[in-house]
């Protein structure tokens, strides 16, 4: 039983940066707090024009500092936050220890990174902005999102045949 659970967890963690195990069982509505963070995050995305196709084109043509400023200051803020959390051993609101899984290197970060870079410049969106763009009423972006989901599926299907 334990080994089955371990295997299941291993699969879930494959190639993903955002899985953390919690031993607490919560009712579904506990997830609403993530919905609220998402709403605030989505508002910033739109208000700072991060979801703008034009802003992404400017970034990749070095025609504007805006996106570099956004991503750079987000990273610095994140770094300081993670440092403070580790330094003072800050716990979650449920009193759990905060743990961040380390990233292990594989060649996928190079090949996949380049492929995602191509897609980013074409669509002017990474996965987050796709959801926000649809929210702003750009209905045709639903096609881009469905295609992105399909791309993820195709990766999963051919995963074992791809160099990692």
């Amino acid at each position: 039983m334990l080994s089955i659970m371990k295997k299941e967890t291993d699969i879930r963690h494959q190639d993903t940066i955002c899985t953390n195990e919690s031993h607490l069982q919560h009712k579904w509505y506990h997830n609403l707090k993530y919905l609220i963070v998402g709403v605030l995050f989505g508002i910033v995305f739109v208000k700072a024009e991060i979801i703008s196709w034009f802003r992404i084109q400017e970034m990749f043509r070095l025609q504007s500092f805006h996106m570099y400023g956004v991503i750079g200051s987000a990273i610095v803020t994140g770094m300081i936050s993670v440092w403070i959390i580790k330094k003072f051993n800050i716990k979650t609101i449920y009193g759990e220890k905060i743990s961040i899984a380390p990233k292990t290197f594989n060649k996928g970060q190079i090949y996949g990174g380049l492929i995602f870079g191509f897609g980013w410049a074409i669509t002017g969106a990474c996965p987050g902005p796709l959801f926000a763009q649809i929210g702003t009423g750009a209905a045709a972006v639903v096609i881009t999102l469905v295609s992105a989901i399909f791309g993820t599926w195709v990766y999963g299907y051919f995963r074992n045949n791809l160099p990692h």
């Binding site: 739109v46 990233k103 990474c126 929210g135 999963g156």
Partner: protein
């Protein structure tokens, strides 16, 4: 006050707010910031098709789906309540370049002249929406994360593989935007 909110926000306001998502998710429930995983969870929930990569209990990651649903709602709220209608400001050099491809409409953050249902049946529209989206989904999962998971979360946690991934995102983007995309846009 509301007038200030309705203006486009500068990077030094938006960047730190986005960065604060990292500790917010960690403190709310030990969740590492990442968005592209939501695409994988959707696959696992809807079309697992016996592929081992999608055979896991996606319900344990449902927080991620609530998060992206929030992003969608946030986009809706911002666009309908917090925006001044009008053209967005873009570098004049980019405007001049895009005008040569017939892109002149700056009333939306998404170029509606490129991304619309009618152009889906043209080669250009197909590449921009369907192929572009495919590359985003395939590439982010192959790389194990996107701008949020690698560039922001990974670098916040000083992970060098995330730096490799971020550099590759940028190389790919520069190549596409400057070399290949001009060809696609002139189709």
């Amino acid at each position: 006050m509301l007038d200030i909110i309705k203006e486009p926000w500068p990077w030094y306001i938006a960047g730190p707010l986005i960065g604060l998502t990292v500790p917010a998710l960690l403190i709310l429930g030990n969740k590492s910031f990442g968005i592209s995983s939501s695409l994988r969870h959707i696959c696992a929930a809807c079309i697992p098709a016996n592929v081992s990569f999608f055979k896991y209990d996606w319900k344990k990651e449902s927080w991620n789906l609530f998060f992206v649903l929030g992003i969608f709602l946030g986009g809706m709220i911002a666009a309908h309540l917090l925006m001044i209608p009008g053209e967005i400001t873009v570098n004049p050099n980019l405007k001049a370049e895009l005008a040569t491809y017939g892109i002149t409409d700056y009333s939306n953050l998404v170029p509606t002249q490129l991304m619309n249902f009618e152009s889906l049946l043209t080669l250009k529209g197909f590449i921009l929406m369907v192929v572009g989206g495919f590359l985003v989904g395939f590439g982010t999962r192959y790389a194990g994360g996107c701008t949020s998971g690698h560039a922001i979360m990974g670098l916040s946690n000083l992970q060098w593989p995330s730096l490799v991934a971020t550099i590759c995102f940028m190389i790919g983007g520069f190549l596409m935007a400057n070399v290949i995309l001009p060809i696609i846009l002139s189709l």
